[in-house]
């Protein structure tokens, strides 16, 4: 057996640890400041105020007004609320929805849920880098189109979509535009007005905040049907007692991300590029999935010929490295990733994909360690495979 060495976490697109500075800020809200935000007494008022401060911090981060932010429990919930909530509330205007074919399952399945209930759905194709052509959005728009949803950056291959251009087209045509920014909020600058975004999903646990909270930006004046029936929390749009400790953490994490965005982006893209360049040079029969430059600063996605991703992941795990094949949610499924297939990657090649996502706490020495061990692991698995390198 191989001795367990230091563990190195390179799966920051799946989730991130809570930054210690964030955790410290959250702690009083579990015990001392525990009130319900809608209570009228002093316990309620003190957290009510904190909730509104948090809302303001997050709204400012994307150039929105604070009343346009709805707190939810997860990006999945925000995306469900955006797609299903807007479609149901606006069906008098039309029943056609456009989404990209590489959206996260929660967007795709929300859209398909609507399709099963009489809505029309267009799933836009992408090019081999995973890019949406904004002109394809224009062509797909019909008289009855009410909503377009294209993610800001893809969670598996890291491709950054031209959302400002898509937003401009949607605004011209007077159609609501939603973007899932779970992978970009706090990492890439967003301005909902400049980019003509009407709805935006942001998540806390992908940017060093706690799990269990996220938000939906909903432009003032857009009608939405809540997913749940309940009381008056979040202006009736998302009833449920508000998760104050998590939201406080979300806001603190947002503050830190904004302050350190430039420096973090530079550091991570440098590590990313070193990893990509070196692997492509030292390991034969490897390709990069996703776009070479229009790419998240923390995302690397390789495709290794002749071997399978899960096997590669588990061998790396043996050496203490945590990575992912495609999307973390897919690891209990057998099919090749829908994102890679949409990029026209052949199924047998898609099976050999590996996603490495770095973060705030990744050190250059971590990448060096990975670069030391990866060629050996790939080689070992290739020696078990019936497919070989051509001599």
């Amino acid at each position: 057996m191989i001795k367990k060495t230091k563990r190195i976490y390179l799966d920051c697109a799946a989730t991130t640890p809570v930054d210690p500075r964030v955790l410290k800020f959250m702690l009083p809200y579990f015990s001392r400041k525990f009130g319900n935000t809608v209570s009228l007494h002093s316990f309620g008022r003190e957290v009510g105020e904190v909730l509104e401060n948090s809302r303001q911090i997050i709204s400012r981060a994307i150039g929105a007004q604070s009343k346009e932010i709805i707190f939810t429990s997860s990006a999945t919930e925000s995306n469900n609320l955006a797609i299903r909530g807007v479609a149901l509330a606006n069906k008098n205007k039309g029943n056609h929805i456009i989404v990209s074919s590489i959206e996260h399952d929660c967007v795709l399945n929300s859209a398909r849920w609507l399709k099963d209930r009489g809505f029309e759905l267009t799933e836009l194709k992408v090019d081999k880098f995973g890019l949406i052509n904004p002109e394809d959005v224009r062509k797909a728009i019909q008289l009855n189109t009410i909503l377009v949803s294209v993610m800001h950056a893809n969670n598996e291959i890291g491709t950054i979509e031209p959302i400002a251009e898509i937003g401009r087209i949607c605004r011209e045509k007077n159609i609501y535009f939603h973007t899932d920014a779970a992978q970009t909020f706090g990492k890439i600058a967003i301005d909902v007005n400049r980019m003509n975004i009407d709805l935006l999903t942001a998540s806390s646990h992908k940017m060093y905040g706690p799990k269990g909270t996220a938000c939906l930006y909903l432009r003032e004046g857009i009608k939405i049907t809540p997913l749940m029936c309940g009381g008056g929390h979040e202006n009736g749009k998302r009833p449920s007692t508000v998760n104050v400790p998590a939201i406080v953490g979300f806001a603190k994490a947002t503050e830190l991300c904004l302050k350190e965005m430039k420096q973090e982006g530079d550091k991570q893209s440098k590590l990313r590029d070193k990893l990509i360049k070196t692997v492509l040079k030292i390991i034969p029969e490897v390709r990069l999935n996703g776009h070479p430059t229009k790419r998240l600063p923390n995302n690397v996605n390789f495709q290794f010929s002749f071997i399978e991703g899960e096997a590669l992941l588990m061998r790396l795990d043996q050496y203490g490295f945590a990575v992912s094949t495609g999307s973390a949610c897919s690891s209990r499924r057998l099919e090749a990733s829908h994102v890679l297939l949409a990029c026209n990657v052949k199924p047998e090649e898609a099976h050999g994909s590996l996603r490495i996502t770095i973060g705030r706490f990744t050190k250059e020495s971590d990448i060096n360690r990975l670069l030391n061990i990866l060629p050996k692991i790939v080689n070992d698995l290739r020696s078990v495979s019936p497919f070989k390198l051509k001599d």
Partner: protein, 167 residues
């Protein structure tokens, strides 16, 4: 998700690699589903002059479970008579591994099928009588292969191209 035994086989697979001058080869699986298993056997005789699987090796493209089941079946088959080897079931493979996640049970089927095909290949090449059960199983496996080949013609061609196996 995986048992310790599965991980042990995966981390240190037994009997892997290509076998030159094998007596029989079983090739099963397909690239579309993401698992390909090749099993090579060499036949010898035991002290009772019965034919046995003297040596066995595998080459597998696939997940943790595919590699572990390949390794496990080589352990199970080595030294067994042909008759005994044909009786190795997927349940037997799963048991020696201490269980498999439900979604990965098909890997044990693949391993059992690969052994059946390797033995069939040996018997056929040497113009031996083929038990009726074995012939039937072989026909079913061939048919499945044809259906997949027809459905995914391009991908099967890729598979052929990727392979540089000396005949």
């Amino acid at each position: 998700m995986y048992t310790k035994k599965v991980l042990k086989h995966f981390q240190n697979p037994h009997n892997y690699g290509r076998m030159r001058n094998s007596d029989g080869i079983g090739k099963v699986g397909n690239l579309v589903c993401g698992d390909i298993m090749w099993l090579y056997i060499r036949i010898g005789k035991n002290t009772k002059k019965q034919e046995i699987i003297k040596d066995i090796k595998f080459e597998t493209f696939g997940c943790v479970a595919a590699i572990a089941t390949s390794s496990a079946i080589t352990d199970l088959a080595k030294g067994k008579t042909i008759k005994e080897a044909l009786k190795i079931s997927k349940e037997k493979i799963i048991n020696t591994l201490g269980g498999l996640p439900p979604i990965k049970v098909h890997c044990s089927v693949l391993a059992a099928d690969a052994l059946i095909e390797a033995i069939y290949d040996y018997l056929k090449k040497n113009k031996r009588d083929i038990p009726r059960d074995l012939e039937k199983k072989h026909q079913i496996l061939q048919k499945e292969k044809e259906i997949i080949s027809a459905k995914y013609k391009d991908w099967v061609e890729t598979e052929e191209k990727m392979h540089s196996h000396e005949q």
